[in-house]
């Protein structure tokens, strides 16, 4: 009941965003605790027992309820993917957290995002201090995200509508690229826009269930090395062979 009331208040914008955001502070903290627990559980695969505090701080600040449709506001801080219309979803916070962490970015680095979606991932990256160029192919989603990010003051994010295959050459090279839109393969032009030492991350799976994360690094020899990360602690074999 309280959740429903809060969502009504927040979604109808009776309060200004800052005030509404405060109402959800506890929910956000709870979400962070869930993420931390999941990360501890998957530390074996992630090769780290905790995430970069900057990532968690960013996630504790970004108002996820602003990035979901009004009828989903009461579920905004659950650690689960949510539908945002147009057959798209806002990713599970745990997956957003580990993807951001795996990108290993520094403030003022340049990030390219293919598939803006709700804009939540871009907001997290901006909150860390990076500059984000984001491309969305579905016009309605892209325009919504653009407006939302502007309204929330994320002026370090630039959104463009169109095809992400050729990346954003005017602003290349990038320190990191994140490809959240489904692709049958990694577009060669995107790889060329990655700086040596840069990282690219691609979640693989369905909209509601990430199967694996593919992390691509361009090394100093100009080779591309991929690392396939399972977002879950699951050892297929227990015996010795």
């Amino acid at each position: 009941m309280l959740g429903a009331l809060l969502s009504l208040v927040a979604s109808s914008y009776l309060l200004d965003p800052a005030q509404a955001s405060d109402l959800f502070r506890d929910s956000r903290q709870q979400m962070i605790r869930l993420i931390e627990a999941d990360v501890r559980d998957t530390s074996h695969y992630l090769k780290r027992s905790s995430l970069d505090t900057r990532v968690l701080d960013a996630m504790a600040r970004v108002p996820r309820h602003e990035f979901v449709p009004p009828e989903m506001v009461d579920r905004a801080y659950q650690n689960r993917p949510l539908p945002i219309g147009h057959g798209q979803t806002i990713s599970q916070p745990y997956i957003v957290a580990i993807m951001t962490d795996l990108l290993d970015t520094e403030p003022d680095q340049r990030i390219l995002e293919i598939g803006t979606g709700s804009g939540y991932q871009a907001a997290i990256l901006a909150e860390i201090g990076t500059r984000v160029w984001s491309i969305e192919i579905i016009p309605a989603l892209g325009k919504q995200a653009q407006t939302r990010l502007q309204r929330l003051g994320y002026d370090r994010v630039e959104v463009r509508l169109g095809d992400g295959y050729y990346g954003w050459p005017e602003n290349a090279p990038f320190d990191a690229i994140i490809v959240t839109a489904a692709a049958s393969h990694i577009p060669p032009p995107l790889l060329q826009q990655l700086k040596p030492g840069g990282r690219m991350i691609i979640p693989v799976g369905s909209r509601f269930s990430t199967q694996q994360l593919v992390l691509i690094t361009r090394n100093e020899n100009d080779e591309f090395i991929t690392r396939q990360v399972l977002p879950v602690r699951f050892v297929p074999l227990t015996g010795e062979h």
Partner: protein
């Protein structure tokens, strides 16, 4: 109305409509959702038959004396609800993928099932009450029911070749009303009402808005996703019982489909069109370029490896689809390419409708296209090949959801690989490419299957005949008809190095060469292949948390990987990134069985209390128990047999559609004949003896087939289709005839008792049939279809042992 006016035509009509509706719902829900979900919904909805049994136990006294009006209303309600309930159900915005996240979707699922139960409930009321009302000639009524169902099975498949599923739905709905009209006439209600009523109904159905019945495809299917992109449109659409085909053009944003493309490739694929079957599983039709060098990206896929191991020779591409495999072979200058495609509509689209775009690749001088099923082709062909390319296993799209676990596939069994290896020339290769799952499943299971096939062929030095490579998206397994030598190994290494693909296995491969470009936590693929070839194979298979046992023709479920022992661990991880590891297809089936058993218990036991109150004086507890066990065993046995044969005969008829039509129609029509024949013994003292004889013949034939069927199919596999169909009918008809006898004889023996018993028996049989259909698949996954046949025989034996003879306490 007189007692002699039996509504046999109308019963046949409504049965045809019900079976047609069932198959149609499967087709429609496979299109708007996914196949496994369609299976679940339709299976549970068939419990409408069980609900009808309970309903009739409680209410038949009211309706029995007003049979005509009641029956006409039920037929009309079937006609109405078959259309309306589907229209409502597909608007409930249910998403199977959200079941692990959101309990609301369980409620929506329940509503979908409830809605779809209604049409089956109404039809079952009509048939059930007819069996009660005409209890002294019920064998003829039941025969009409089976005949109708047989015709419905063939009819709907034929109709789906002619009209889209949405139109077929209106036809099925109309058939319900037509059954009502015929029933009205048969039961002396007069011609006038029927003649006036039917055209009005037809007009109403015709004028219903198209949006009511047009399939609303899930927004999460690939087709819906692509159509969101500006500038995309469907340029061709085809439908058949094999599914809906859509071809999509994307003008603004070019489609570029090249799964598994090496990161080292700098080449963008030429213009492409998207080809979808049932709104999913995107493949591409590529514009045939003037200059073949623009197809060089096809050389940067793992599947290109075999072309680097031997010169251009004779290639067999199984599953030609949009033509990617053929293009790849043409690009590599193959001398002769035989391509096999099961779906004639796909071939027609690539060849004719989009012939200019595709460059008529299927009519290329070096290409020979065969429209047939791949396994059957391997069995029949006498040609020899240097390379046999299997179709890319569609786990790229389905891996995350594990939605293919239930799909029988006779192309990835040990026997199929054996057949393929026998078609290779000396030094030739079989190549199998699949989407990579983590932890590895498909790739290692194929590797295990290849080892088993080579063993069965008596090959020596098996470890020297295999090679496995992987990119980040796909892996390709090569099986050589000969030993992989040092020149081959050098070529494999060069191929992988240039493309940053990883070596997973080649003869004598040292461990340090694994896991270099596409790094995994450990060398899963290298370790797995070594274990499968080594002494610890059995231990490895036992301890691996997924099922990697090779698929066989008796258990053709290559994509079933779930082990019950891993289930609790996987379930606990579902919210922490582990959802993709759960095999939703298989779990859906298990949940469906659970639901069916629970509801069946309720539907069988609740009316029992009423029956005991009504019949305690006339029917003993033992008799009630016999009724329960007899009709339950029959329900299980009939469907076990039917489903197992439906699968078995795919191997003889080489096509799932032919198998479904021939097997269903043969079983149902011959069982109808058996039922009609049994009328002469109905209610007689010797009926128990006749029943026992029929069951003895069923068991004898069943056991004989368990031994003879496989070798017979091997021999007959290369016969002409017409002969193979005739052989199938000849094999099934005697069995079906005998299987049509026990149900009406059992019901007739209840005729002297209270009518509620007949209604109860009807419901029990309905519930058992639902459980049986689901259980048969689960049993086949674990024990094989032969075990299902054996169990069917046990059920028939159990039924014969509990033939119901009414005695009072």
């Amino acid at each position: 109305m007189t007692l002699n006016a039996q509504p046999r035509f109308s019963i046949a009509l409504i049965s045809a409509a019900v079976l047609g509706y069932e198959i149609l719902l499967m087709a429609l829900f496979s299109l708007i959702q996914w196949h496994h979900f369609a299976y679940m919904v339709v299976s549970v909805a068939l419990l409408g038959f069980g609900v009808s049994g309970s309903f009739l136990v409680l209410t038949r006294a009211v309706f029995e004396n007003n049979f005509r009006n009641f029956a006409v209303i039920q037929a009309c309600l079937f006609g109405l609800s078959s259309l309306l309930c589907y229209a409502l159900a597909q608007r409930l915005s249910f998403n199977p993928e959200e079941l692990i996240w959101d309990s609301n979707h369980w409620l929506r699922l329940a509503l979908v099932i409830l809605l779809l139960t209604l049409p089956f409930f109404f039809a079952a009321n009509l048939i059930g009450l007819a069996l009660i009302r005409f209890k002294y000639s019920l064998a003829r009524i039941y025969a009409a029911d089976l005949f109708g169902a047989g015709i419905g099975a063939v009819g709907i498949i034929a109709i789906l070749f002619l009209v889209p599923p949405a139109t077929a739905l209106r036809l099925v709905s109309f058939l319900g009303f037509a059954a009502a009209a015929v029933l009205w006439i048969e039961c002396r209600g007069g011609w006038r009402e029927a003649i006036i009523g039917l055209p009005i109904v037809m007009l109403c159905l015709y004028s219903l808005p198209g949006t009511w019945t047009e399939p609303i495809i899930s927004p999460y299917k690939s087709l819906s996703q692509l159509l969101r992109v500006p500038g995309t449109r469907v340029i061709a659409e085809r439908f058949s019982p094999l599914g809906m085909i859509n071809v999509v053009e994307s003008r603004t944003t070019p489609l570029r489909h090249a799964p598994g493309l090496s990161l080292n490739s700098r080449i963008e694929p030429p213009e492409q069109l998207g080809l979808f079957i049932n709104g999913d599983g995107l493949t591409a039709i590529t514009r045939y370029p003037d200059d073949l060098s623009s197809l060089a990206y096809l050389d940067y896929l793992t599947s290109a490896l075999p072309y680097h191991l031997q010169g251009p020779g004779r290639v067999l591409v199984l599953g030609a689809g949009g033509g990617a495999g053929v293009l790849q072979a043409l690009y590599h200058n193959a001398e002769r390419i035989d391509a096999v495609e099961i779906n004639p509509q796909v071939a027609e689209l690539v060849r004719v409708r989009l012939g200019e775009f595709s460059g008529g690749i299927f009519d290329h001088a070096r290409v020979n296209l065969q429209i047939t099923e791949a396994r059957g082709f391997l069995q029949r062909t006498t040609s020899r090949y240097d390379l046999i390319q299997f179709p890319v296993l569609d786990s790229l799209a389905g891996a995350a959801g594990g939605v293919h676990g239930l799909n029988e596939n006779y192309l990835y069994t040990v026997a199929a690989l054996r057949e393929a290896l026998k078609r290779l020339d000396d030094e030739g290769y079989v190549a199998l490419t699949n989407g990579i799952q983590l932890p590895p499943r498909d790739s290692l299971k194929l590797f295990a299957s290849a080892i088993a096939a080579l063993k069965e062929l008596g090959a020596d030095n098996i470890e020297r005949r295999l090679a496995l490579i992987r990119g980040w998206q796909t892996s390709t397994l090569l099986i050589k008809n000969g030993e992989i030598g040092s020149a081959d190994i050098k070529a494999i290494k060069d191929f992988c190095k240039r493309r940053s693909f990883d070596l997973a296995y080649y003869p004598g491969m040292p461990g340090h060469e694994a896991n270099h470009y596409n790094q995994l936590e450990t060398s899963y693929f290298y370790d797995g292949t070594r274990a499968l070839l080594g002494q610890q194979r059995d231990q490895f298979l036992h301890e691996y948390k997924f099922n990697l046992e090779p698929a066989t023709d008796d258990r053709p479920f290559h994509s079933h990987f779930l082990k019950w022992s891993s289930l609790s661990e996987l379930t606990s991880l579902r919210h922490r990134g582990g959802g993709a590891l759960l095999e939703t297809g298989y779990l859906t089936l298990a949940i469906t069985l659970l639901l069916a058993v629970l509801f069946s218990m309720l539907l069988i036991l609740l009316p029992l209390a009423f029956i005991r109150r009504e019949t305690a004086q006339t029917v003993s507890f033992t008799s009630s128990f016999k009724v329960l066990s007899y009709f339950f065993a029959l329900g299980l046995g009939f469907l076990f047999m039917e489903i197992a044969f439906l699968q078995k005969f795919i191997l003889l008829l080489h096509h799932p559609i032919y198998a479904a039509s021939v097997v269903l129609a043969s079983f149902l029509v011959s069982a109808g004949a058996g039922s009609a024949y049994s009328q002469r013994f109905a209610g007689q003292l010797r009926s128990k003896r006749v029943n026992a004889k029929a069951v003895a013949v069923i068991i004898a034939i069943g056991l004989l087939y368990l031994v003879l069927l496989e070798p017979l199919m091997q021999v007959a596999g290369s016969w002409q289709l017409g002969l193979r169909i005739l052989l199938s009918i000849a094999l099934i008809a005697p069995l079906g005839f005998c299987m049509g006898v026990p149900f009406p004889l059992g019901l007739s023996s209840l005729a002297s008792g209270p009518p509620s018993l007949t209604a109860w028996a009807w419901g029990i049989n309905g519930c058992a049939s639902v459980i049986s259909a689901i259980l048969a698949t689960l049993l086949a996954i674990h024990f094989g279809f032969n075990a299902v046949i054996l169990l069917a025989l046990v059920c028939y034996f159990a039924a014969a042992s509990s033939f119901p003879e009414l005695t009072s306490d």
